[in-house]
């Protein structure tokens, strides 16, 4: 942990509202991010990682809503902020980048203007000044010939370039926290490597904390100091990145690590049959009782069905949520 806590999330609960019923899509999720720290959230589709990020900047929309818990940003509770107050925070102190930059950019406005807007909106700069800063911002995200690219429209840029523009917009006001939701999933691997490198360098240079969200455990372990593993709306394990792969504790994490064909594994150890996790990911409306992983778990006993496991602390500020953890 580096420095004081920037973001503290406590017992966050997010509800999916279907008619008169509320299903806990995310429940009892707690984590903190220190200043300049990188935390990764991994999990499969529907595990609640993306909506957790959206809830942090007040972007949850019906049928999802915050059902309980607190979100403290720089010591101030922000889960009940008005839309106007949240807007002041968003893009300024907390910003976000998404998987598909094309849908997040305005197709009818030159990218330079979209970056400049951030300076005008949050820093009170004049348009003239802001457009000069936009060129700098593009240069910062390593876009070649930035003075010409500012005039381009989003559709004239490649996917990688668009994501760079998104990052330029997100980091324009030097936010304290950057939320990155699958920022490279739509990109080729070599472009992904460059974008990840860029996020890492810029956040380190500006002291920006990063919450990175991905389904790719390898990527998260590479990018982040600490990793939270989510399953069916629960944070089931939280560990320093290296330990997640070396000594996973929760049966789900163990299963995931053993089921991945890691690059280099066959060359080193020969081809082994991959370990399979049986069953399927449950739907939000049909989360099982007790431990939510119990129907798929090899270590299941009676208590797993009867009782929801609490958090057990592990060394190095880690935790696991399992009755039978090691």
């Amino acid at each position: 942990m580096s420095g004081e806590a920037l973001l503290e999330v406590e017992n966050l609960r997010l509800d999916l509202i279907v008619g008169a019923r509320r299903f806990p899509a995310v429940k009892d999720v707690s984590f903190t991010i220190g200043r300049g720290e990188t935390l990764g959230l991994v999990g499969e589709s529907g595990c609640g990682k993306s909506i957790t990020a959206l809830s942090l900047i007040g972007l949850l929309r019906h049928p999802l809503a915050i059902g309980g818990g607190t979100i403290r940003f720089k010591g101030r509770e922000i889960q009940n902020l008005s839309a106007g107050e949240m807007r002041k925070l968003r893009g300024n102190a907390i910003s976000m980048i998404f998987q598909e930059p094309m849908t997040a950019l305005n197709p009818l406005s030159p990218v330079g203007r979209q970056i400049a807007e951030m300076f005008v909106l949050h820093k009170g700069a004049t348009w003239h000044e802001a457009e000069r800063k936009a060129v700098e911002a593009l240069a910062n995200v390593r876009v070649p010939a930035p003075d010409r690219r500012v005039k381009d429209f989003p559709h004239q840029l490649s996917g990688g370039m668009r994501q760079r523009v998104m990052i330029a917009i997100a980091l324009a006001c030097r936010p304290d926290l950057l939320l990155a939701d699958e920022p490279t999933t739509a990109l080729d691997v070599t472009v992904q490597a460059e974008i990840l490198d860029l996020i890492r360098d810029l956040s380190a240079a500006q002291g920006t904390a990063v919450l990175m969200i991905s389904h790719d455990l390898g990527l998260i372990a590479n990018m982040c100091a600490r990793v939270g593993v989510m399953y069916a709306g629960r944070l089931v394990e939280k560990r320093p990145a290296q330990e997640v792969f070396r000594t996973p504790s929760h049966p789900y994490t163990k299963g995931l690590v053993a089921s991945l064909p890691l690059l280099g594994a066959r060359a080193r150890h020969g081809r082994h049959k991959l370990k399979e996790i049986t069953g399927v990911v449950p739907a939000v409306t049909a989360f099982p009782d007790g431990c939510r992983f119990n129907p798929r778990c090899y270590a299941r006993t009676e208590i797993c069905v009867a009782q929801d496991p609490g958090e057990t602390p592990l060394p190095h500020d880690g935790l696991v949520r399992c009755h039978h953890h090691e």
Partner: protein, 331 residues
Amino acid sequence: MSETGDNTILKVEDLEVKFNLGGGLFGGKRRTVHAVDGVDLVLRKGECLGLVGESGCGKSTLALSILGLQAPTRGRVILDGQDIAAPGVDRKARARIAQMVFQDPYSSLNPRQSVRRTLEAPLRMHGVTTKSEIDDRIAEIMRHVGLRMEQAERYPHEFSGGQRQRIGIARALILKPKIVVLDEPVSALDVSIRAQIINLLLELKDTLSLSYIMISHDLGVVEHMSDRVAVMYLGRIVETGDWHTIFTEPRHPYTRALIAAIPDPFNHGLAVKMSGEVPNPLEPPSGCRFHPRCPEMREGCRAQPTPPLAAVGQGHAIQHEVRCIRAAELV
């Protein structure tokens, strides 16, 4: 390499697929994209060939040509001794040799057909018409892919992503093909489901003596499943060899950069070996097409013509070939 080795099941010779853009009724400059530009490939019985490369490298077009869905502008595709790219080859005859498993298990199944109907219609069309034989074939394939017989009456929306992919695999295997093209077979599935499908595909390859051509951008999956690997860049194969050689001693700077770009979970930071993005295929760079991004670029790399795919190294069962003039220096 033996020309007509009896265990060669697929041979692609000098395949070229060109697309014309522009031109037409309202003018505009007529331009040509070489999606696949002179590709030679060999697949042996029981092998899995991994086809890797970034978007726009031509791997999907190549796969479609092998299935006969994309007519080549030059070259031959010899499937099981028969040139299937020749005009006038019967779609049905081709269907009994080569089949395909699709990436997205949601859009690849007809929402209005039950599993039985999905499997029965192709059988009937290919001359299997007696009720008992159809039932036997469906039961057999359902067992092979790990589905229960009573699930045959259900419709796609009643299944999870992993089960749908099993249905897609059953459909590809129902005609008993010899070659199956796997187009990103696990990338659309939940991470915890992928191992089931990878294991199933490897198991079926052995029990049913299949040969695979697998397109994937996930190098971990490619390393795990492939016997032979071909790396493509802008319509051409830039390196090919057996999986071990490609993953442990890659020679082409592009292959090296691809492997280096995969995040290593045990180390922080990435060794970014190249910059920039794939150039516009309408205006491919002169000489070696990779030279604008290549960390090993020298003056000579720009010169025409493109370097040939040349053999390097000795003593490999599968020849290691690299398209780079500096291949000998880059050990």
